[in-house]
């Protein structure tokens, strides 16, 4: 007790001194110096003490290898630490191939590659790497959310907002506020009108009012939301990941589903979404707002939604279930030793489309290096061949079951080079509106907690994810 009183006195004195200093800012610097100098020598060891915070520094690096932003949450780490990364980057040839976790003599580097940018974080001690990776992606998502894209030019244009965001998202290397709803209350996203007004009036893009979200029991939703039109839209998007082999049999196929929501509802709505066939869902992950227990016991999604756009849930229907493959591909790609040419013939037809139309059909082929040019005719759509990237893209559009699209012709090859061993695989893109290929259906959406009647809508769409046809 006595000790603590003494401690108090100490602090009062220092407070007094400091207060007095502040009132005499200009004249006092000289006399201050002696005191400051002394304190420095006393505490020298602390300079060399490494703390065990999670993320120490962040560097943003563009595809040319320039560091265009750095942020340190603790003491400054020299940029030269990035040299180890550049070395690995050089070795990897392709930016996708850079190992996400690197080791340097004194630090560990964990990086992600998003939108042609590297987010490189410097770590000093043991930390779960996924923790850092997940956080970096969250940072990139936030930029995307704020600026519409995540590129070097937007980030440098909005440097101050970016810096403020980073400051809020991480405190001493530990994530603080990562919810978009909360961040937006503290730091407003830029828009043209506001920036004009700001320059005229000297206004700011920092929220004048203090956020409530952090402090309420529902951290993901801001308080006092008001809309004239109350609407809730849900997009059920399913992507088919499949590998189809040469003969047309499915090697593996699975469905990745996601329910994106755009909820603009006033007050504190409590929503319940139920499905016609929840048993379909093999494995799910939720936005933190969804109540796990309700799902486990009743297979309904019960949640108080964040305001605006968010991902309500993602689900996975694994290869153990039967997955419908919407199109079939008949292809033959041959390279002839003699005459250094090749032939290509591709036809696509509908397979299991559930009576819907297949749209935005596109075939992408990464040709072997030896293919110089392509001379093809398409019965439908256009094709392009990029000689430098060796990418053949055939943009078909809508699939007409009566008249199947076909692409055929010859490929001219480099002479004197042995024929490629492997035929290139075809990557298929497609879209089917108004259909969730797994058969998942939302049966109803109920709202509790608010009196008004919201407008509700659910949209389904099926896309090809990583859909690959081996040849």
């Amino acid at each position: 007790m006595n000790q603590s009183q003494g401690f108090f006195k100490d602090i009062q004195i220092s407070c007094l001194v400091v207060g007095w200093l502040l009132s005499n800012t200009a004249s006092i610097i000289l006399s201050f110096r002696v005191w400051g100098g002394q304190s420095m020598t006393d505490s020298a060891p602390s300079w060399f003490f490494y703390s065990a915070e999670m993320i120490h520094s962040l560097f943003l690096i563009n595809h040319l290898g320039d560091i265009f932003l750095e942020k340190h949450w603790k003491s400054v780490i020299s940029r030269s630490v990035c040299d180890y990364f550049f070395e690995a980057r050089e070795k990897a040839v392709d930016p996708e191939n850079v190992p996400p976790v690197l080791q340097t003599p004194h630090h560990y580097l964990i990086s992600i590659y998003r939108g042609k940018l590297f987010f490189l974080s410097v770590i000093q001690t043991e930390v779960p790497p996924l923790f850092v990776i997940e956080f970096l992606h969250r940072v990139a998502d936030t930029f995307q959310d704020y600026f519409g894209e995540c590129s070097e030019s937007v980030i440098t244009d909005n440097l101050v907002i970016v810096y403020e965001l980073l400051e809020e998202m991480l405190d001493n290397g530990f994530p603080l506020a990562t919810e978009s709803n909360v961040l937006k209350e503290m730091i407003r996203p830029p828009n043209i009108l506001r920036s004009v007004v700001n320059t005229l009036t000297g206004g700011s893009n920092v929220g004048e009012t203090l956020p409530q979200g952090q402090l309420s029991n529902i951290p993901w939703r801001r308080a006092g939301v008001k809309y004239a039109n109350n609407e809730a839209y849900f997009d059920v998007t399913e992507e088919i990941d499949a590998i189809v082999d040469k003969s047309g049999t499915t090697v593996s196929a699975e469905i990745q589903g996601v329910i994106e929501a755009c909820v603009k509802l006033s007050g504190m709505p409590d929503l319940t979404m139920s499905f016609m066939n929840p048993r379909l869902l093999d494995d799910v992950s939720f936005h933190p707002c969804v109540r796990f227990r309700r799902w486990e016991s009743e297979r309904v999604l019960s949640f108080i939604p964040p305001d605006g756009n968010f991902t309500l849930m993602t689900y996975h229907i694994s290869s153990q279930n039967l997955v419908a493959i919407p199109v079939y591909v008949k292809q033959s790609i041959n390279f002839f030793e003699a005459g250094s040419c090749g032939r290509l013939d591709i036809t696509i037809g509908p397979k299991q489309t559930m009576g819907k139309t297949v749209e935005d059909l596109k075939v992408t082929i990464h040709m072997p290096k030896a293919v110089l040019n392509a001379n093809l005719t398409a019965t439908q759509g256009n094709y392009t061949y990029d000689c430098t990237t060796k990418m053949l893209v055939w943009d078909i559009g809508k699939l007409n079951p009566q008249k199947l699209p076909n692409l055929r012709g010859s490929l001219s090859m480099q002479t004197g080079v042995p024929n490629p061993e492997e035929n290139p695989s075809l990557n298929i893109d497609l879209k089917i509106q108004q259909l969730a290929i797994s058969g998942l259906k939302v049966s109803r959406l109920d709202m509790y907690g608010e009196k008004y009647k919201p407008f509700k809508g659910v949209k389904y769409v099926t896309k090809a994810g990583k859909f690959q046809v081996r040849t």
């Binding site: 750095e70 770590i123 996924l130 810096y163 090697v251 504190m268 992950s285 492997e422 290139p424």
Partner: protein
């Protein structure tokens, strides 16, 4: 430009010092900045105005300074924005410190924030000037607005200036007792900062941590555990009393906190509970442990079968729902927790979630695949059903491909090998040659591990020898060499085939491998081997070192077996080797010569030459690169790097005998055995019980408990009533914790199961209610009683799974309203009991108030009303109460 900005702080020095001095400074910029900034900065603050005009950058900062000193807010703001821009680009702006720090007390929030950013960045370099700002923060710490208090503490604690340690300490202590959980959270963060600034404060900080650990707010939990992990991870005793609370809060803690808490609890559990892994478990990790006291262990298990500590079970149960988190780090944390803590048969529940993560970003895939690779070595069965998820796509990044390959190889067994090999055939043809080579290695591994397919693989590899790509051929040769070693007898043909290829192969490793094979099995190819040696003699000088070494090797072996034909050739090669540039080769040559050519100096050794050189050699073992990764805890940086990272803490082994369990009791009201399952139960949905079937006792208790508090069953046995009242006591105690926290548990995911059960009913009832809207509440009351007997039935078979229960319920629902009306009369006495029960229900709800299940307030049953009684948050409850009155 960079140079000039870096040594901006030394401008004054520079103006005084000579040119030589300057070059030294420039070369040691960074060092200088940290070693003696005080001198330069003070000088600089004194002579600030005289900064060198030569420096254009400095001139730019000069007008920033003017802007900062102007009276216009907008100019100041603009200046600060540009300064932050400088900081972001890594350029120095430290000389503006005095001008910036004056604005710390600005009313403009944005300006203030930017000044904070600046302060945190430069305070360390400009310590004494930084002190000017302290009093502003001290004032702000007393602000009525919690947000201002928190942000003041945040910045104050980020100023890494040792002299303010006592001020920080005081501020932390005060903030730790703040009414606002947000401020308390900030104080937990500040603890770590202060600790890194001055480790001597440890004892005092531990006191604060101890206090904050008792905090019931979900907002604080993650941050304080983080502080605990950093300051005093060894003080496990601080956790005991908070263990159950942390487990129960876990679902509602923010994502990042969940990761930290889970990893801390993993360590905790490993020190406090006994191993749930039975005898004969094939965990290499714990072999030593089992071996050392297996005797003792056996005695124990014979005497008393393993019973899991209820607290251990509580942890497993409460982390399970987090597998559904959107945050990949959380999922991984739970997966490693199950891996390290759960009984073997339960670990597999994490599989699906891990496989799901594979759809995430490239970097996430990388880490998850690494962990799966380690897991799949020990537990093939876990991932075998998902084998197709590991099939490689041509668009995957190379390191992802290799990891998938690794996993596929680990998962290969007799049953699936043909599918896997077919898949591998596609990969071998890949355009990515590094990957194709890795595939060949993988085929080799499959061939050695599964003897049924060795021949198939070998034939396949031999076919690859005619591949056009050299890397593929070379890799095949290397792998074939290894395979032949395992069963050399019947493969003379292959060796001949490879000898034919020899001329075309240029990859040194492959050539060396062929030469070694020739030498090793020279008896099988008596004609070809000397010819190969002849060719080598011609090209010897142009070969790579490994090839030369193997040539010498081959020569020696042939000399011993077939000296008639090869004597001269050997002599020639040994002579070439003698004058080689590489000393290894000269060395080897001399050694071989002494060994095989007997002369007076060589002594007795040459007698054994044949036995030495032609000794049967053990076949190499082809094993996974992830074989030894299990020394590290899964999900850690160390595991990812396969190397012990700074600050890595070993996961402790299970204790042989469990430490005292009672340390975790917060208040000993009931004996522990009864206590814990009930608390667990309140968090636990029915479906889990079905899964965890290992603990009979516990299950029975839970069963009866659920029938008591869950269904509104009036005729439940007395024992269940007892357990109901127990849970009441416990929950009321808990409710103090939670309710003080302004009902944070309302996110509802930690609803009590009794609630969720009644929810189920509620749901159906409301549905029905909609069908017959006109019916008054009294009707739904009868509905309720109609459920009575059914509840009874289900309670009598309390062991029955949740499925069967819900079935029976839905049966009752399918009943037409007519029989229910019949029961209305009979039910009268039951209603009385029912109301008695309500008291406990009400309290239970207090314990976890959930706005979750706010149903339509149109028609509500009696039970529903009681359920909603505890809801403090939603305005519905009041509406409900009104209805109840009416």
């Amino acid at each position: 430009m960079d140079c000039s900005s870096m040594d901006a702080g030394f401008s004054s020095l520079r103006s005084e010092a000579a040119g030589a001095m300057r070059t030294v400074l420039v070369s040691a910029e960074n060092l200088q900045l940290t070693l003696k900034p005080e001198l330069s900065q003070e000088e600089q603050s004194l002579t600030h105005t005289n900064s060198s005009p030569k420096d254009s950058h400095k001139a730019g900062n000069e007008d920033l300074k003017e802007m900062l000193e102007s009276s216009k807010e907008s100019l100041k703001l603009e200046a600060m924005k540009r300064i932050v821009g400088l900081i972001a680009k890594g350029k120095s702006a430290s000389e503006l410190f005095p001008a910036v720090v004056k604005n710390v007390a600005s009313k403009n929030i944005e300006l203030k924030k930017l000044v904070y950013v600046y302060l945190v960045r430069y305070a360390e370099e400009q310590q004494d000037l930084a002190l000017l700002s302290i009093s502003t923060f001290q004032r702000a710490l007393k602000d009525p607005n919690q947000f201002i208090r928190a942000s003041a503490l945040r910045v104050l604690s980020s100023i890494r200036v040792p002299i303010i340690v006592p001020i920080m300490m005081l501020a932390i202590k005060e903030a730790a007792a703040d009414l606002s959980p947000y401020v308390r959270k900030t104080s937990a963060h500040a603890i770590q900062k202060l600790y890194s600034l001055d480790p001597d404060q440890k004892e005092q900080l531990i006191e604060v941590i101890e206090k904050l650990l008792k905090d019931k707010s979900t907002l604080v939990a993650g941050s304080v555990v983080m502080a605990f992990e950093e300051v005093c991870p060894d003080r496990i005793d601080l956790i005991h009393k908070n263990y159950r609370k942390l487990c129960n809060l876990l679902v509602d803690v923010e994502e990042w906190g969940q990761v930290v808490i889970i990893s801390m609890l993993t360590r905790y559990a490993r020190t406090q509970f006994t191993s749930p892994w039975m005898e004969g478990a094939e965990f290499d990790e714990n072999k030593a442990f089992y071996d050392s006291d297996s005797e003792e262990k056996k005695d124990q298990t014979e005497a008393k079968p393993y019973v899991m500590d209820p607290d251990h079970r509580l942890l497993l149960r409460n982390t399970k729902p987090l597998l559904q988190s959107r945050n990949t780090a959380v999922v991984m944390a739970v997966a490693q927790l199950y891996w390290h803590l759960a009984p073997k048969h339960e670990v597999s529940i994490v599989t699906k979630s891990l496989v799901r993560l594979l759809r995430s970003h490239r970097e996430v895939q990388y880490i998850v695949l690494q962990n799966i690779a380690t897991m799949s070595i020990q537990r093939k069965g876990m991932f075998e059903p998902f084998i197709k998820s590991f099939y490689v796509r041509s668009t995957d990044a190379t390191h992802i491909k290799t990891l998938k390959l690794e996993i596929l190889t680990n998962l290969a067994n007799e049953a699936n090998i043909s599918t896997i090999l077919r898949e591998f055939q596609t990969y071998v043809k890949s355009q990515d040659k590094a990957f194709a080579a890795a595939t060949i290695q993988a085929i080799g591994r499959c061939a050695t591990n599964i003897s049924e397919v060795t021949d198939t693989c070998l034939n396949g590899l031999v076919l690859l020898l005619s591949n056009r790509d050299e890397a593929v051929v070379a890799e095949s040769i290397v792998v074939i060499k290894k395979l032949l070693q395992t069963q050399p007898t019947q493969h003379g043909d292959i060796i001949k085939h490879m000898a034919k290829l020899f001329d075309n192969v240029t990859v040194p490793m492959a050539r060396a491998s062929i030469l070694w094979l020739m030498g090793e099995y020279c008896e099988k190819v008596p004609k070809i081997a000397p010819d190969v040696l002849r060719k080598m003699a011609k090209t010897f000088t142009a070969e790579e070192d490994i090839v030369k070494l193997q040539t010498v090797n081959l020569a020696a072996k042939l000399y011993l077996t077939n000296s008639k034909q090869t004597k001269l050739l050997t002599q020639y090669i040994l002579n070439l080797g003698k004058y080689d540039q590489n000393y290894d080769i000269r060395d080897r040559t001399r050694f071989i010569r002494q060994l095989i050519v007997p002369n007076e100096k060589s002594g007795a050794l040459s007698k054994y030459a044949r036995r030495m050189l032609l000794a049967p050699k053990p076949a190499p073992v082809l094993e996974s690169a992830f074989k030894d990764r299990d020394r590290y805890q899964l999900g850690t940086l160390s595991h990812s790097l396969n190397l012990k990272a700074t600050g890595y803490q070993e996961l402790p082994d299970w204790p042989a005998v469990a430490p005292d369990q009672s340390v975790r009791n917060v208040e000993i009201v009931e004996p522990l055995r009864e206590w814990a399952p009930i608390v667990g139960k309140t968090k636990q949905p029915k479906s889990d019980d079905k899964f965890y079937s290992d603990d009979e006792d516990e299950k029975e208790e839970e069963g009866s408990d659920s029938s008591g508090s869950g269904s509104e069953d009036s005729s439940s046995s007395s024992s269940s009533e007892e357990s109901g009242s127990e849970s009441e006591e416990e929950s009321s105690e808990d409710s103090e914790k939670t309710s003080s926290d302004s009902g944070k548990s309302s996110s509802g995911s930690e609803k009590s199961s009794s609630e969720s059960e009644s929810d189920q009913k509620k749901k159906k009832k409301t549905k029905k209610a909609q069908q017959k809207k006109s019916k008054p509440t009294a009707d739904s009351d009868s509905d309720e009683n109609g459920n009575g007997p059914v509840g009874q039935a289900s309670s009598s078979s309390s062991e029955s799974s949740s499925d069967s229960e819900s079935d029976s319920e839905s049966d009752s629902e399918s009943d037409s309203p007519a029989p229910k009306k019949k029961t209305e009369v009979k039910a009268k006495p039951k209603v009385a009991v029912n109301s008695k029960k309500e008291v406990s229900l009400l309290d239970l709800d207090d314990f976890s108030p959930a706005p979750t299940n706010a149903p339509k307030p149109s028609v509500l049953s009696q039970s529903l009303l009681s359920d909603l009684e505890g809801l403090s948050l939603s305005n519905i409850s009041s509406a409900v109460q009104q209805e109840k009155k009416s």
